[in-house]
Amino acid sequence: MDILIVGLSHKTAPVAVREKIAFEGETMGDGLKTLLEYPHIAEALIVSTCNRVEIYGTAVRKEVEGAREDIASFLSTFHDVSRRDIDPHLYSLSGDEAVKHIFRVTASLDSMMVGEPQILGQVKDAYTCAAQAQATGNILNRLLHKAFSVAKRIRTETRIATSAVSISFAAVELARKIFGELDGKTVMLIGAGEMAELAARHLLNNGVEHIIVANRTYDRAVSLAEEFGGSAIHFDDLEQQMELADIVISSTGAPTTIIGKKMVQGVIKRRRHRPMFFIDIAVPRDIEAAVNEVENVYAYDIDDLEGVVQANIKAREKEAAKAEEIVHQEVAQFRDWMSTREAFPTIVKLREWAEDIRKSELEKTLRKLNGLEDADRKRIEAMTEAILNKILHRPIAQVKRASHSKRGGGDLVEIMRKLFELDD
């Protein structure tokens, strides 16, 4: 029995191809059922997201080639697309490579945006669906559970998913680095605009409690404030009201800056130096660059935020290297499990066979010996056990050791079965 993957992803196929062979909730069950009817497929699972369609399976009697062919032709017939259209985009992996791929996909190392959190849920859903359809067995069950725990391990042991990779989230994260918890904080939104509103919304979702909206047209401010559940102010009151705000997001169409260093110095004094965070999303800018020089004030414009996002992406890539190391270890562990799994039944059989011989011979001998003390009887019994264990120890240890090695213990297991005639 061997694990294999056949599929395509954003790395090998354009969306025009991906959408042709995608599965949805309803077609998934049918797909799994149809797939299992193919001769070489023992277990199967379908992962279908907007970035990838992949089929994880195990092959009957190690016939990986046959299983691979089965899956490819299943994809083509089930979705009614010609092999010529999909074959150039399909990749297939087996054994360790397949295990590694599944771990990497689940841990979001293979994602378009490395570290994005959705993929784990998507794989979990795919697994639930396959398990319900009874398409998975021992190996895939074990493999997928392992993949989930590897993903979790990577999430806790590396910072792969902790830093923001969009401008509006970067703003939230910076606010957190300045204020800690955002509970009870106030944000002031000056002007309007998609990105500014998005940033304000993210802040509100992350604990910010009050929002003050200012706009050149007061009516616009009122309607926006209503939308956010905040309060509107007149544009002329801006400077006076600013001391209430911990975070200021500005996005007006003004041709020159509207917030200057002097103004902020006055505001921060009235606030008794409690920190302020200015986010300037407008182009041309609303906030003087020099505002950032004021003590306890942090002013970011759109380029600064973009710079932070770029740095975060770099940091994520660095963390990804640590994650790959974890994947590497876990693949090795899984390989051990797979090989022991092969060797285990043979070892058990050998033990049983030897134990049967020991018991029957012991009985024969004891029947012939008369007048034995109970203690002597026990001693003889212990001796036969010791002889047996000592003789069996070496071959069993060898098989175990071989099965943990890179090549696996398949050959030795085979020899052992032949030597001791363990096959029924």
């Binding site: 042991e157 204020f179 800690g180 130096h273 409690r274 920190p275 975060n312 940091a315």
Partner: protein, 272 residues
């Protein structure tokens, strides 16, 4: 026996410090847990160190440089453990524990490790009270110092707008400023009481409350620095960078009062 406990404390303190520093680089949640358990063990060893010395006879702390260094280190570990119950930011350990480790290591290199006989004039219950209050105050100032350094690093990251070294590992400015402030507000009464009890004890022992001996003078300077900082925080709302620099200067004064005075100047407080 006491020396064995000292070696144990040193070893565990080293392990704890190492893991706190590692935590700056590796986010693995096991790392700070290992650090914390090592720190518990270090604390137990240090406590046993003083207990065995107490049983052997005499005042176990503050009679010579060796004991003072170990005791200061014990106070730092204790105040770290207490502060992190309230503020769960193990990263602070990376900036405070090295201080405790350096103090203990320095102690290991001192030739005099025995229990000293103190002059009969100084034998008094005021000794442990005075020494404990002073060192607990100093230990809390060490916490404030560590948090202040972290604040300056993180604030620089945010001002430069480039997430540089440690940006991801360090907590928020708010937390760092609060920890520094809290440590200060608890440490300051300790130092104040330490100076007061010292002067009462001086009255008993030498017949004078205050003699302007270098240790006394420098303690007063330290006290004035922290008093000024607390005053500015309370009245004008000082915080952030300025307050952080002040906390650092204050701790340098603490170190000078503790070590500099003994090594460079001489007076009633210097050990033989």
């Amino acid at each position: 026996m006491d020396l064995a406990f000292f070696s144990g404390a040193l070893l565990f303190l080293f392990l704890a410090t190492l893991h706190y520093l590692l935590y700056l680089v590796y986010q693995n949640p096991v790392v700070p847990r290992v650090a914390r358990y090592a720190l518990y063990l270090a604390f137990v060893c240090q406590t046993l160190f003083f207990s065995t010395r107490l049983v052997k006879g005499g005042m176990p702390f503050g009679t010579n440089m060796y004991e003072s260094l170990v005791f200061f280190s014990w106070c730092i570990v204790l105040s770290y453990l207490l502060v992190t119950v309230r503020y769960r930011v193990p990263v602070i350990g990376a900036f405070v524990m090295p201080i405790a480790l350096i103090l203990s290591t320095a102690a290991a290199f001192l030739p005099q490790k025995g229990i000293e006989d103190i002059p009969p004039a100084l034998k008094s219950y005021w000794l442990p009270i005075h020494v404990t209050l002073c060192f607990m105050g100093d230990a809390l100032f060490a916490m404030a110092f560590g948090a202040a350094i972290m604040y300056l690093i993180q604030e620089k990251n945010l001002k430069r707008k480039k997430p540089g070294a440690l940006y991801y590992s360090l907590p928020s400015l708010e937390v760092l400023d609060t920890v520094s402030y809290r440590a200060l507000t608890i440490g300051f009464p300790f130092l104040t009481l330490g100076i007061i009890t010292g002067s009462i004890w001086a009255q008993y022992a030498w017949g004078s409350y205050w003699q302007w001996d270098p240790k006394e003078t420098w303690s007063l300077i330290t006290w004035l620095i922290y008093a000024a900082l607390l005053h500015a925080r309370l009245t004008v709302g000082w915080r952030g960078r300025k307050a952080a620099w002040f906390a650092i200067v204050g701790f340098l004064a603490v170190l000078f009062t503790f070590l500099g005075v003994n090594l460079i100047l001489s007076g009633l407080h210097s050990y033989n």
